[in-house]
């Protein structure tokens, strides 16, 4: 028998479990590595053992945030989760919700991806928390992830503001044993008392912003007293360390007993505990800053290089790499602890070839790239604007069929811009889920101007890259949505990318190249990896219709 209050959980799951046990009534998210498993854990548990939580994937992060905010407006607790770049999409409601404040507790979980394991940048969400002036938790381990998620929801309701919890890949996707505590009941629905707080007309927003500014002293006091911001001074003149989140574990691992020779401050909650930092700096010969992500603490300590009276060491000082995730081995070398080189084979072992991710065997995207290559043969210099999904791998050999990838939905807007600059036709490829996430609005622009771009909607009926989440729109509904945006029916083509249909598909595309205007080619075939899941979803949809 497993003890029911001890579970093995990933960092993502620990946060989810903490939110469930804090009494959330809603969970909102858009899939994105390394955040996906937060929502999935809640989704899998909701409906079981009488647990009633509204948990459906949202169209994009902005919608997810707004749905969560609505749930909070109605007095119930909620979690919204996404990857770091997802917060860019949700930034508009996020920032303004710090002015409106919340009613039911609202927990914003953002999973950052230092080293860009599965991302296009490694932005640090703590900066968002800082400039929106809210509390941000940064758990050092899975147990704290669970507890901080619970605490964050209590705090959000008490302070009447959203609270952020920041994860990094290494914690989000690492499992450990978590001890659970007694769950709290859900809130009953109740409207927020004062609608002027929530109606951000300038006159109301000014009062809201003042409220936010007034709360700052309370926030600082909270952070100063918080147990996770722990200061131990071992003696004046000793070297000091400030370590946040999982970096504090790396420091403990690397220094072991030698840690007692340092003054040591751990940071688990922001705003930074300024008084504790002052004490540490005053007592220490030098101060090491250890953080996974951008050098947020280091930059504040040095005032971006304006203060020179204390010796601050970290990423800005050049003692640690400025990019990529922090590792125990980097901490080791910073502290001059000899690192093991591991096992070496005699003689000079040849370098091993890399094994980059690839499109799966039989993937429909491979066929679409083949169709595009064949169809554009003979035309001078046609570029293919890319987007975010498995098909971004089309950049690599053997396809080499994609020439940009910036962010969700950028392919269509960028193709239009390239066309406006005088090239044409411009191709773009975008998956079904990315299209509904952020492709509808740029396609509306292109339809209004009849821009000479050829939009390939790669409809594989699933969100494959992040592990097979259901898509919002597929099959005939995709045709309808494209037509609804104003694309003329005769220039909406549906093809099935199969090797045996290459010739006829190329003919269809060639025809559209000859047409000077907007065409949408829906390249539709189920994902081979998630074929079973797609068929189940189709049966369920048909069941709903009956």
């Amino acid at each position: 028998m497993k003890e029911m209050n001890r579970l093995i959980l990933m960092g993502d799951e620990a946060v989810a479990r903490g939110a469930i046990d804090a009494g959330i009534s809603g969970a909102y998210a858009y899939p994105g590595t390394p955040s996906t498993e937060i929502f999935e854990y809640i989704h899998d548990l909701s409906g079981r053992d009488g647990l009633e939580i509204h948990a459906r994937w949202s169209t994009n992060e902005k919608v997810a945030y707004e749905e969560a905010l609505g749930m909070s407006y109605a007095g119930r607790r909620t979690i919204v989760s996404f990857k770091h770049v997802g917060l860019n999409v949700a930034a508009d409601p996020f920032i303004s919700s710090t002015i409106s404040g919340v009613h039911g507790g609202l927990l914003v979980v953002v999973a950052d991806d230092p080293s860009m394991h599965s991302s296009q940048n490694e932005q640090d969400s703590r900066f968002y928390a800082k400039f929106s002036q809210i509390v941000c938790f940064e758990p050092p381990d899975q147990q704290q992830a669970y507890e901080m998620a619970r605490e964050a929801l209590d705090l959000s309701e008490k302070l009447r503001m959203p609270v952020m919890l920041r994860l990094v890949t290494r914690l989000a996707h690492s499992r450990s044993i978590v001890t659970l505590s007694e769950p709290r009941k859900q809130n009953r629905a109740s409207y927020c008392p004062d609608t002027s707080w929530w109606t951000l007309l300038p006159s109301n927003a000014r009062r809201g912003f003042d409220r936010l500014l007034h709360k700052q002293a309370e926030l600082r006091a909270f952070s100063e007293e918080h147990a996770s911001n722990q200061l131990s001074i071992s003696g004046a003149g000793k070297p000091g360390i400030i370590a946040s989140g999982i970096a504090s574990g790396y420091v403990r691992e690397v220094l072991g007993d030698r840690l007692s020779e340092y003054n040591f401050l751990t940071v688990g909650v922001y705003p930074l505990p300024v008084e504790k930092i002052k004490q540490l700096v005053k007592a220490s010969s030098e101060v090491w800053t250890m953080e996974d992500g951008y050098p947020l603490i280091e930059q504040q300590l040095t005032g971006d290089g304006l203060h020179t009276n204390a010796r601050i060491r970290g990423k800005m000082s050049g003692d640690l790499p400025r990019s990529g995730e922090l590792t125990p081995d980097l901490v080791k070398s910073a502290f001059g602890v000899p690192a093991s080189r591991g096992l070496r084979l005699a003689g000079s072992a040849p370098g091993l070839p890399a094994r980059p991710p690839l499109l799966c065997e039989g993937c429909p995207h491979s066929d679409t790239f083949e169709i595009i290559r064949e169809a554009t043969r003979g035309y001078p210099d046609i570029r293919v604007m890319g987007d975010i999904g498995c098909y971004t791998l089309g950049f690599y050999k053997p396809h080499e069929g994609l020439h940009s990838c910036i962010c969700m939905g950028a392919s269509i807007g960028m193709a239009s811009g390239v066309s406006h600059a005088g090239f044409g036709p411009v191709f773009c490829v975008i998956g079904d889920s990315t299209f509904t996430h952020s492709g509808l609005t740029p396609l509306l622009d292109a339809a209004r101007e009849n821009t000479n771009i050829k939009v390939f909607v790669l409809d594989n009926s699933i969100v494959a890259m992040t592990g097979g989440q259901p898509t919002m729109v597929t099959d005939q509904a995709m045709v309808q949505i494209v037509a609804g945006l104003g694309v003329p029916a005769e220039h909406i083509k549906v093809i099935k990318p199969l090797p045996r249909s290459l010739e006829e598909n190329v003919k269809v595309v060639r025809q559209e190249i000859e047409y000077h205007g907007l065409s949408v080619i829906i390249s539709r075939r189920e994902c081979v990896t998630y074929y079973k899941e797609i068929k189940t979803a189709q049966r369920n949809r048909e069941g709903e219709l009956r």
């Binding site: 001890r6 093995i8 590595t33 390394p34 996906t36 498993e37 394991h117 599965s118 290494r170 914690l171 996707h173 690492s174 499992r175 450990s176 044993i177 999982i246 574990g249 790396y250 403990r252 691992e253 690397v254 590792t327 125990p328 081995d329 080791k332 690192a339 093991s340 080189r341 591991g342 096992l343 070496r344 084979l345 005699a346 072992a349 040849p350 091993l352 070839p353 890399a354 094994r355 980059p356 991710p357 690839l358 499109l359 799966c360 498995c390 791998l393 050999k397 890259m465 992040t466 592990g467």
Partner: protein
């Protein structure tokens, strides 16, 4: 007690299932645990790895520091070489499947990969693909390898078995059966290897032969073990193993087999 294990292979080979069994066995033994893994993009046929750190004391860091892993357990031979810098120079051991997963154009010569592996002070090569097919499914390669590591893991075999069963019970009865078969076959490999090592046979010698032996999901009978020990202790026996790599013959595990092999039957 403290053990750092690095699992590796190619996305889709079932590394996380192996990790599941070890994680739950560690929890049952009352140990603390940290197990970071790779998700997302790399799962599309890329190199994938998971670190498993287990200790009777709290563990501070998610990642295994370089040079500290006691065991690299790999589902693919090229991948097993990718993480040697994590392996302890004092007591590190590599257990790997010999079956290449070739999805890159510059995959090295297999003989050079095996050559490097056989140089390691402690290594066990396993023909996971063959044994998994025999156990009932080529997908059960991961459970063969997990079993092949069983004598090196600090958990009783029955605890590991319980969690293998639990993992596949969510899927189907048949899968429980197949994977349990595979796991037990792997255990037979592990116990056979351990007996030979204890008799003083070098890992490199054992690993030249072991992939071509036809293990069953139960321990190799003692007289057969003894016959193989005698074979390896005889210089003529070791010489007879050279041709095995090229022939890729699968030898039955019986008392007569070593004699026949030595005499070139």
């Amino acid at each position: 007690m403290k053990q750092d294990v690095l699992l590796c292979g190619v996305g889709g080979q079932g590394i996380l299932s192996m990790a599941y069994v070890i994680d739950y066995s560690a929890m049952e033994a009352g140990y603390s645990l940290k197990q970071p893994e790779v998700h997302g993009m790399s799962q599309r046929g890329g190199a994938v790895q998971a670190h498993i750190r287990v200790s009777d004391k709290p563990i501070a860091s998610e990642l295994i520091p370089l040079g500290q892993a006691e065991l690299i357990l790999s589902l693919e031979p090229l991948e097993s070489l990718r993480y040697l810098q994590y392996l302890s120079a004092e007591n590190g051991c590599v257990i790997t499947d010999i079956t290449p997963f070739v999805n890159i154009s510059d995959y090295p010569e297999l003989s050079s990969i095996y050559g490097q592996l056989l140089q390691l002070p402690s290594v066990l090569l396993v023909n996971g693909a063959h044994l998994a097919r025999k156990a009932g499914s080529p997908k059960a390669q991961n459970m063969i390898l997990l079993g092949a590591a069983s004598t090196r893991l600090p958990y009783p075999v029955n605890v590991l078995e319980k969690h293998v069963a639990e993992l596949f019970a969510r899927k189907s009865e048949r899968l429980v059966h197949v994977n349990m078969n595979a796991f037990r076959t792997g255990c037979a490999v592990s116990q056979f290897h351990q007996a030979l090592r204890q008799a003083g046979v070098a890992d490199a010698s054992i690993s030249r032969v072991l992939p071509w032996l036809d293990f069953e999901p139960w321990p190799v009978p003692e007289p057969v073990v003894q016959a193989w020990i005698a074979f390896f202790q005889d210089p003529a026996g070791c010489a007879a193993t050279e041709g095995l790599w090229r022939s890729e013959l699968i030898l039955p595990l019986e008392e007569e087999a070593p004699r026949k092999l030595r005499e070139g039957d």
